[in-house]
Amino acid sequence: MKPPLDESLAAESAGELKQLRQAVADVIFGQDRLIEHVTVAMLARGHILLEGLPGLGKTELVKAFSKALQIQTSRIQFTPDLLPGDITGNPMLQEVEGQRKFVFERGPVFTNLLLADEINRASPKTQSALLEAMQEKRVTVMGETHPLPAPFLVFATQNPIELEGTYPLPEAQLDRFLFKLEVHHCDVDTLQRILTHRTIGEDTTVKSVMDGERLNELSLRAQEVYLPEVVGSYIARLVDATVPGHSTMSQDLRYGASPRAAIGLAAAARARALLEGRVHTCAEDVQAVAPAVLGHRIILSYQAKMQGQTPAALVKALLDEVSPEVKALPKSLSAAKLS
């Protein structure tokens, strides 16, 4: 019987996850926060949409994680002529034991970690085939359902430029991604470090720290992390405040976040708590993951877009507006905080 999560188990898990992050950080320089977020998403069994310019290390990041976790990895380069069958697999006519019949030939989606490169270049039909697999964690072809291996994680990337001929993901499909992370340029020191350690064309060596099964176990442990009532209330109030008319910041929104966002926020907060070796979540966990969880789930109004508002700025405004404390203090008192 699996022992219940306690502080020693949480500390042990945090140690292993720290090794994982360190292994990736050894080859992906200057992206510690991104690595932390990806780790959290993997623990929460969430899919990630990575957005960034070409050459910033998105693919390297995925490859580094696959090597560190020793899990099966596939990569699909999305193009406009990509068909759903190219992702899920196709029935092939084969002769088996003297009889000809259709045998399902598994596509690249049957893997643990799928890198969907430039997902916005494929047609909506192809995108939806992948997104269905992401949600259901299974593929149905010709009436036959094929479960996907566990863990099944999708790291999709998209390029914020060269948008001609692309099919931007609709909001409903964006909602399937737990995190949307932006990959930014690194600073000069990091760049110099990359130059020193990397040679063009040479593959990186990543230390293996765990396997897919262990990742599954840790993921199950993350689900055991206690979510206090006050934190649950905080998440609910945060998500509710994104509904237009429910808060000041929501004046700039056309649509707010869904209940799925609230569930994702709680799962991500739990994963982050385990990452830090705690058996309970706290408001700081929610605040840390909120921009990645909520940023792509709120739809800005036209006016806000014209004014140059960004989802990140609005989520920050949301966090400023909604307090972790349920009840406000009177005007004669001020909330003190340890500096």
């Binding site: 408001a283 009840k327 004669s332 001020s334």
Partner: protein
Amino acid sequence: MAKDPAAAFWLRRARQWAFAVNAAWFWQSLMPLFAGINLVFAAYLLIARRSGGEVTAGLPWYLLALALAALWALWRLRGREFTVSDALLRIETAQGLKNRLSCAHAGTLPWPAPSEYHGKVIGLRAHVALLPLVYSGAFVLAGLWLPIQPVDAKPVAGDAVEPSAWTQVADWTELLKEERLVDNEDIDKLEDRLSELRDRPKEEWYTQGSLEAGEALRDETRVAMQELARQLQSTGTFLEEMAKNQAVPMLSGAQAEALDQAWLKQLEQLQMSQPGLDPELLSQLQQMNFSQMKGLSPEQMQQMQERLQQSAGRCGGAAGLSDMDLEAVSLQVSQMGMGEIQRGPGPAPLVMSDDGTSLETAAREGVSNQDMRAAVLGETVGISSRPGNDEADTDFRAGAESGQAAELGDGGDVVWRETYTPQERAILEDYFQ
């Protein structure tokens, strides 16, 4: 759970902070009402002090209002009151405990050690919390200490000074007594009327009614004394004139009779005057008609004449008559006609009389305008010292120096020709950007 020292410590702290926050909420709800009640109470104190009432009479109502306000503030507190859970959340947020207290309170984690408590959880904004209290205190103190005088303050009886009108009437009464000119009964009546006023309570001496009554008595007495002075003056002058006529040898019997009649008439007027003349003096005067005057010595005549004129001077002077007024009376009597053919009765012209002689020196007479349409060539139309048009100042420019306006325009249209409205300006700036 409560037996755990750490749990007891944190829960005790939470209860303390919850009480502090609830007290602050209560005070915030009560604050506007508290200030309003104190303002009203301060107004009440001022009114009570102004009207001379007892200020403590309103105290029960003040306390009742405060109690009701407190109940209302408590009622408003519902839904906002801090519970122990809220206080624990406040503490763990302030102390950076990452919701450990909430988890411990839910029984999922052990309580942290008390040593992790660092004290500062909530700060006090003193100016917000205390200013209303200061204002309210200032209101009440102002109501209690502002120097104001009660409207119906009772006068100090011993210090009361009677109205000046009464004093003047009393002086005149004394004068009349000294001069022994007036009948004592009349003086007694006057004194009775004065005593009636004086006998009223001193608190009422300066009431409107009392002051008006005193002034009416004074005016009435003054007029009577002036009239008495005139009558005495005219009687004295009459007596003087009769003494002069006594020296005329060839006065006819009819003229003597007329003089007697005039003297009787004068005495009648004197008798009818109010206050009435002293009976003794009146009888002495009645014996002095023209026919019986020969029996009197010149000294007696002189003495009586001087007494009358002195008394007239003193009475008149006291009542506001000048010597000129009395001389005018004398002159009027000495020049009184007898109603002969040449002139009727009454004073002669160009003498002092009640009606002035109009010489019409200030009257204006109308002057007709000349009709210039009938003017012939060379006739002078008019003479004026003002320069003509040919002497006009050609350098003069109206408005050029004072306003410094480059262009006067029509009704301010220059503003619209030379400037843009903010909207026009914004459009142009946008276009050329």
